[in-house]
Symmetry: C2
Subunit: 346 residues, 2 copies
C-alpha cells in the first residue's frame, strides 16, 4: 500500500497577484526557482505515510498556497554564499515542515477556524489529529536535517525549534494582557516568528563553510526581516486590505491577541479607550460594532502607521546586515524581500 | 531572572514498592544509579526557561514519579557496550524528554484528566500550554542530541520521533473501531510505544562504535520489550491491581480505546457481547455497571491471561536478542527488566 499514489500531486504554490508586493518578491522567486522545484518535490514526498490521515491533513495545509518564503530564504542564502552541494534543498524543506508543524499547533492553540482562506485542519480533522500530524512533520523535518549531516545546521534548527515553542508559550501567557509592553511583545515575536526566519537564512551560510561574519550577517538579516514581517502581519489584521492575503481582518481582535497596534493604542488612548480594550480583548466581551470601533481607534492614534514605521526600522537593520555581501543577484533578491514584506501593508 | 532558582529541586524518582516487580528492576537501577543522577540533573536543568509556565508545567510531570525506564535503558545499553564517554547521559535525558513531550500531547489527544495518579497538566494549565510545552521539550531533546554530536544517534532518535507520531495518528484513526485486528493493533503499539524503547536501547550501542550486530540486538531487545510493556499496560487497565501503578482501572475503557484485551474479547465473544463492546467503546454509551461487565467478559474469555501470554512471547524475543552479549551484569540487568515488565501484571 503506497499512500503516495492516492494523493493528487497538487502541491504547487499559488502564484502571487501582480501587485507591488508581488513584484518585489519576483527576483527571489526567479533566483530560487529550480531549487524550489526540488524542495517542493521533497515536501510532497515526505508528507507521505501509510497512515492515510497524515498526508490528507498535511496536504490540506501544504497545498493551500503558502508563499514558502522561509525555504526560499534558505536557498537564496546558500546561493549568496556560493554553496555548491545539494543539502540546502533538504534543509529548506525541513524549514517549511517546521513552519507547517507550528501552524498546525498554532491553530489548535488559537482555536482558529480558518487558515490561508480555507477551513483550518483542526476544524476539518479535529485538534487531536492536528497536534499529532504536527508532531509527525516536526519529526520528518529532523530526519531530513540529519540526512544532510551538518551538525552546525542541526544546531541552528534545533535551537530554533525550542525557541519558537518558548515564544508561543510566552504569547499564551501574555494573551489578553493589555498591560503587555512593546518590549515584552518584541521578545515574543523575536522567538515565535523571527527565530525561524533567522535560522532559515543562517543555515544557508552554515552549510557553505563561509566565514563566521557572513553567517552572522544572514542570521541578523533573517531575524530582523522576521520581526518586520510579523509587525506587518499584525498591522494587516486591522486593515481592510488583508483579505487579499488570505487572512480575514479582525482575527487577532476576535482571539484577544495583544499585538503591537493594540499595545500602541492602549498606551496612547484615554481611560475610556483603555476600558474598551480591556473589555474586548482581556474580558472577551465583543459586540457587533467593536471591530469597527477598534479600527477607528487605530486610526485616531496612528497605530497602524506607527507599527509599519517600526517594521521599516527592522527592515533597515536587515538591509544593512546584507551590505557586506556587496552587489550581486542573490543579495539584491534578499534585499527586495524586505520591500515585499513592508509593502504588503500598502 | 533565573527561573531555575524558583523551582524546588524535587525531581527525584519516587521509589518503587518492595514487590516482586520492583525487585526485578533493582539490578538495572543499581547499575545505572550514578549516571541517572547526572541524567536527572540535566532533566532539571533543561526544563528551565525564563518563561515561567514552561518549568511549572514541565515539572508537574517530571516530578510526578515516572520510572525513567527509557533513559535507564540507554545508560544500561551504553554500559553493556563498554561505552566510556559522557554522551549517553545527554542522550538518555533526550529520550526522557521525548517521552515527556509525548505524554503531554497524548493527554491532550485522549482528553485525559489524570496522569501518574495526579491531575494531568492539561487539566491544570489547559490543552494549549500542554501542546506548546510538549513542543518545547521536544526541541530541547533535539538540542541535547545535537550537543552529543553523533549523527547515528540523531538518526535513530529523529526516526523514532516521526514513527511515534505516526503510531499515535494510527491509534487515533483506529479509535473506537472494534473491527481493529490484532495485527493492526500490533502495528500501532510497535510505532507509538516500542519505537522509543527500541531507539533508547539502540543509541546506547550506536555511540559506542560497537559491531552492527550488537546494535541490532539492542534495537530488537528494546522493540520487543516495548511491545511487551504496552501489552501489560493494556492488561492492567482491566485488572484491579492497576491502581498501585498510578493508573486508574478503566481509563482505556472510558476513552473508548481499542486495546488487545478488547480485541480478543470482541473476537471470542457472542453477537450480544459484540453489541456490548460496540455500544460502550464505539458509540461511547457507557452506563454505571459497564466497566464491571467488561471485566467480567475479559474473565470469561481469558482475555487478560491471553494478553499477558502474548506479552511473554515478545519478552522471550527480547531475552534471546540479548544472548549474544553473554553473561555480565549489564546484560543480566536488562534481562531482569523483561521480568519486571511482565510481572507488573501479577
Amino acid at each position: 500500500m503506497n499512500a503516495k499514489e492516492r494523493i493528487p500531486q497538487v502541491g504547487v504554490v499559488v502564484p502571487f497577484e501582480a501587485n507591488e508586493a508581488a513584484e518585489s518578491l519576483k527576483p527571489l522567486v526567479e533566483l530560487v526557482r529550480a531549487d524550489m522545484q526540488a524542495v517542493n518535490a521533497i515536501i510532497l514526498d515526505k508528507a507521505v505515510s501509510d497512515v492515510d490521515l497524515i498526508p490528507k491533513l498535511a496536504h490540506h495545509l501544504i497545498d493551500s498556497g503558502g508563499k514558502r518564503l522561509r525555504p526560499m530564504l534558505t536557498i537564496a542564502a546558500a546561493k549568496l554564499c556560493g554553496y555548491q552541494g545539494t543539502g540546502h534543498v533538504k534543509l529548506a524543506a525541513s524549514v517549511e515542515f517546521m513552519h507547517t508543524a507550528t501552524l498546525l499547533h498554532d491553530d489548535v492553540v488559537d482555536e482558529s477556524d480558518f487558515r490561508r482562506g480555507k477551513e483550518s485542519a483542526r476544524l476539518v480533522w479535529g485538534n487531536q489529529a492536528s497536534v499529532l500530524v504536527g508532531d509527525f512533520l516536526l519529526g520528518q523535518a529532523f530526519r531530513m536535517m540529519v540526512d544532510v549531516g551538518s551538525l552546525q545546521a542541526l544546531k541552528i534548527l534545533s535551537d530554533a525549534a525550542a525557541i519558537i515553542a518558548e515564544g508561543e508559550v510566552m504569547q499564551l501567557a501574555a494573551a489578553k494582557n493589555t498591560a503587555t509592553t512593546e518590549d515584552d511583545y518584541l521578545a515574543i515575536i523575536d522567538s515565535k516568528t523571527a527565530a525561524l526566519f533567522s535560522a532559515a537564512a543562517e543555515v544557508g551560510a552554515a552549510i557553505s563553510s563561509r566565514p563566521q561574519q557572513e553567517r552572522a550577517a544572514l542570521k541578523s538579516y533573517g531575524r530582523n526581516l522576521g520581526i518586520a514581517f510579523q509587525l506587518i502581519d499584525d498591522a494587516l489584521d486591522y486593515s481592510g486590505d488583508s483579505a487579499r492575503m488570505g487572512k480575514s481582518v479582525g482575527d487577532d481582535f476576535r482571539e484577544g491577541k495583544i499585538t503591537l497596534p493594540v499595545i500602541l493604542c492602549f498606551r496612547r488612548g484615554t481611560e475610556e479607550e483603555r476600558a474598551f480594550w480591556t473589555r474586548t480583548l482581556a474580558d472577551g466581551e465583543i459586540r457587533d460594532d467593536d471591530l469597527d470601533n477598534a479600527i477607528r481607534l487605530m486610526k485616531r492614534h496612528n497605530a497602524i502607521e506607527a507599527t509599519i514605521e517600526r517594521a521599516r526600522h527592522y527592515g533597515d537593520i536587515a538591509r544593512d546586515a546584507l551590505a557586506i555581501f556587496g552587489a550581486n543577484p542573490a543579495a539584491r533578491a534578499l534585499t527586495d524581500v524586505i520591500g515585499f514584506c513592508i509593502s504588503r501593508a500598502n
